[in-house]
């Protein structure tokens, strides 16, 4: 990413080269790093999905064995949730939020870099397990996690999972949790404290609002999984008995903790995409968001209500009719604010001048498919019906409609929409439309038949199924659909690589958007805003005098924070501790802890002015 050379160079000129990326604290660069890394993991997770679907393409297939299959679906889920969708959202949080609120960076730029490095190292740590078998004397090369992304106790105990597989998963998730928590606090502080004058909360773009809600969910939900994982680590490493039935522990403790985190996590995944769609639709309808306040409040409501529905993941454990009824009711209620958003989006387009750019197509595709996922969600909000649907492909269909048809499509809308802002070049529209069409066909072909295979009795997480079940045809169609998705993603990757170099040059505001980030050059200069703007409208670029003048050249020199190597070094120290836990070596652990302490000390006293 090049920065515009200006006569009034900032105090610290934007450095270039490999090292400058390693030490960067620029939210824009960190955003790009997040995005690029997330896309790589997205492709890894997609490849895992492809292998899963190839195995299930026919009944009693022997392409992939039981152990490898269990690793694949565990890592597919874990990768897509923690290493693809969340960091892809984080890419936008990083790049877009400061621009949308008129700030020059996030509140804690080095903490931001720390979050990124911890995320990428944690992701690598977990994926190294695919080739780490020989280090542990295992008979298989791959010792990847194999307990499912939900890791139910007591299957994850050392008794039933003696290998290092689960350790990779537990430690990897802990690392990613730290990264998410640090980022969450960072963005909350940023949004509360660093808004430009006049950027009242109720003037913030819907995307920043949904990101804001998401951060609160992150900082409240991740401590819960952290506690659950600490229990599990202690059970596995020090022989405690939190989940050990023989010693009076309870296997349901894990499920309560996991889903108390896990359901809010669903909203962590989907709210940013909803925010993107709420930003994209008005631009390409040439109309303001219909019922802005209601969209914001319903997002808040979803975030709050998301805390009261976790046991709907546990109807089949038999919590009793009263608990089932209560959680059924709360789950159904959450459909109301979700439905409101959908109606507001449709109303936003109503009467507009709709331009079907790639971004717009993905946003519309989001709505169309999210409706399907929402409706099947209401079906298994009903506990008796859920007893037939949970742990079957019906549920797999449901959450893939929500997370792929919804989440991923929404994020793609965001990529097409903000790519010109980030790189100064537009993505190819014809390729974008091809990408959309393939994606739309692929997602539906892959996931719609899963409703049928589930209702006809095919459970989830099975590496093989009997031809007698009569679901082979549906599975074959699903497999073909997955291949089409892979093709769509290939088209997308080609589009990105091609457009980075040869894409049409983007103006400041190629889409005619009303939001603040489009008032500055594409890509923005290293200091973002030559002067901190004063905002006077929710749609600053669509009304006259909505924002104060932002000159192309800063009238006074702008100070920009430099880089720091301490974030990546601190993150590396954390990884050393994780490796020590894996190797069961107190010595390495002490070394890692010391390294972290020294790095934090150096970090704290580093001359670093914001």
């Amino acid at each position: 990413m090049a920065t515009t050379a200006t006569p009034h160079a900032p105090d610290v000129a934007a450095p270039t080269g490999f090292w400058s990326w390693i030490t960067t604290t620029d939210h824009k660069r960190i955003g790009i790093l997040y995005g690029a890394t997330a896309l790589v993991f997205f492709i890894v997770g997609g490849f895992e999905a492809l292998l899963i679907r190839l195995q299930l393409g026919s009944a009693e297939n022997t392409l992939i064995g039981a152990e490898a299959f269990n690793q694949l679906f565990t890592m597919h889920g874990t990768t897509m949730v923690f290493l693809a969708i969340m960091p892809l959202s984080a890419a936008f949080f990083n790049y877009i939020i400061p621009l949308q609120i008129g700030a020059r960076d996030v509140a804690f730029p080095r903490l931001n870099a720390f979050s990124y490095w911890l995320f990428v190292l944690g992701g690598l740590f977990m994926n190294v397990s695919f080739v780490a078998g020989p280090l542990f004397g295992a008979h298989a090369i791959s010792v990847a996690p194999d307990g499912g992304w939900f890791g139910y106790a007591n299957l994850t105990s050392t008794q039933y999972s003696p290998g290092p597989n689960i350790d990779f998963w537990v430690l990897g998730l802990q690392i990613l949790g730290i990264a998410s928590l640090a980022a969450g606090f960072n963005f909350i502080t940023t949004i509360i404290n660093m808004r430009a004058p006049g950027m009242k909360l109720m003037r913030m773009p819907a995307f920043t609002w949904m990101a804001f809600v998401t951060q609160f969910i992150i900082v409240t939900a991740f401590p819960v999984i952290t506690v659950a994982l600490v229990f599990l680590t202690f059970d596995r490493t020090f022989g405690t008995t939190f989940y050990s039935v023989a010693a009076g522990g309870d296997v349901l403790l894990w499920q309560h903790l996991f889903w108390l985190f896990g359901h809010p996590e669903v909203y962590i995944l989907i709210l940013p995409a909803m925010g993107i769609v709420s930003d994209v639709l008005p631009v390409f309808s040439r109309k303001p968001l219909f019922g802005y306040a209601v969209v914001v409040y319903s997002g808040l409501l979803i975030g709050v209500m998301g805390w009261g529905v976790w046991a709907h993941h546990m109807f089949q454990v038999g919590l009793g009719p009263i608990a089932d009824s209560v959680f059924s009711a709360t789950t159904m209620l959450i459909a109301v604010p979700t439905g409101v958003k959908i109606f507001n989006w449709i109303a936003t387009m109503w009467g507009g001048q709709l331009r079907f750019t790639s971004a717009m197509l993905f946003a519309i595709g989001f709505i169309g498919m999210f409706i399907i996922g929402g409706l099947s969600g209401v079906m298994h909000a009903s506990p008796p019906a859920d007893l037939q649907q949970t742990d079957t492909y019906f549920v797999v269909a449901h959450f893939h409609y929500v997370l792929v048809g919804g989440g991923i499509m929404g994020l793609f809308a965001g990529i097409y929409y903000w790519f010109p802002k980030m790189f100064g070049r537009l993505l190819s529209e014809p390729l974008g439309k091809l990408h959309f069409v393939l994606m739309f066909i692929g997602v539906n072909l892959a996931h719609f038949p899963m409703h049928f295979s589930g209702l006809l009795g095919m459970p989830r997480r099975v590496y093989t199924y009997s031809a007698d079940l009569g679901v082979t045809g549906f599975n074959r169609v699903s497999t073909i659909g997955t291949m089409i998705i892979a093709l769509a993603v290939a088209v997308f990757v080609i589009n990105v690589l091609r457009s980075l170099r040869r894409g049409e040059i983007a103006s400041k505001n190629p889409w005619g958007s009303p939001k603040l980030e489009w008032a500055i050059s594409s890509p923005p200069p290293v200091y973002n805003f030559s002067v901190i703007p004063t905002v006077r409208s929710r749609l600053p670029l669509w009304v006259t005098d909505g924002v104060s003048e932002i000159p192309d050249v800063p009238p006074v020199p702008v100070h920009v924070p430099g880089g720091s190597m301490w974030p990546i070094l601190t993150a590396s120290g954390v990884i050393v501790i994780a490796v020590a836990a894996l190797a069961k070596s107190p010595l390495i652990a002490i070394g890692g802890a010391l390294a972290v302490a020294v790095c934090i000390f150096a970090w704290a006293f580093e001359p670093f002015e914001v």
Binding site: E67, K287, A329, M332, A335, G352, Q353, G368, M458, G470
Partner: protein, 385 residues
Amino acid sequence: MLEVGGPPVQRPIEFDRAGSWLYHSSFPSARESARCAFDGMREGVTSVEGPRFRPARVIPALMTVGLVLVFVACSGDPYPQSTLHPTSDGGTAIDRLFSQIFWWAVVVFVVVESALLYTVIRFRARPERGDPKHVHGNTLMEISWTLAPAAILVFIAVPTILTIFETDGSAPANAIQVEVIGHQWWWEFRYPQLDLVTANELHIPQGHPVQLIMSSADVIHSFWVPKLHGKRDVMPGRTTRLAFTADSVGTFLGQCAEFCGASHANMRMRVMVQAPSEFDAWVQAQRQSTPVDTADRRVVAGRQLFGRTCIACHAIDGIGGAIGPDLSHVGSRTTIAAGILPNDSAGLTRWIGNPGAEKPGNLMPQFPLEPDDLAALVAYLRSRR
């Protein structure tokens, strides 16, 4: 042996579309049509082009083909593990509830997706219309589309809660009790009132309430026989319950529905719903010890071999270990290895010859057996009827 789902479903046949396309009632319900549409997807059942494009002469031939296809599809049940074809009181209650919710969902789907499509087509950019008005919202509309879904949800929530209490797992006092114990990766069924124990094939009488009292010996499993009831987890340290009354005779497939380790996919089961008299006969047979056929040298040799090896984990007539399934009457079961292999000589030979290949990760070791010894063991096990 492979007959599943009881007597072939009686479907008046009209013409020869694929599978069981043909409900002859004057107007098949849309849901039934949906079920039939599934049939078309079934592997091995090729969709035959409808007759209206064919010369009349071809029709009889096509009918023959169609009948064969219908026979193929329906001689067994095309969907032996379907949640949409319940054969018990609880299963029917759940299916009825699902139907109601399903239709509400269809209505909402059609209304909302149509609104979306209409908007997208109607308001595509046309420069002559000029810049759209900046509408920021409409309180009345927003209140109404908040209340409308809430109202629909009431229609879903009320029958839901009624059904929750209807299917809460409690059974009348005269119910036959079965203790279900989940193991990696097989099912143990104990009948405390009848003093018998079996594995992987649950026998219950038609028309008589059954109470399942479930727990696990190791990790969490989930008991799921879709045609009889929704699933219920089977957990270590906890007891869960299911109750239902099966209304049709037949064999119903089920399998573990909670991920339980390497061979989760291979933890299957069958439920044999029998007429009360047949069930009683089965109980009597199971409670008697099978005499050893001393005239058959292989059976005798197999018995000796069993006593030296298998007995460490498997019991016969109360003698032996409890790690694996009780094999007192293993010869009377239709399948072996938790429903993944047919219980015939070939299936048993495959299973005992290399258990790890059939069910990855399972505890049963591969014994280095001479072919003769293996055959003797198989003969002995098959004789345990």
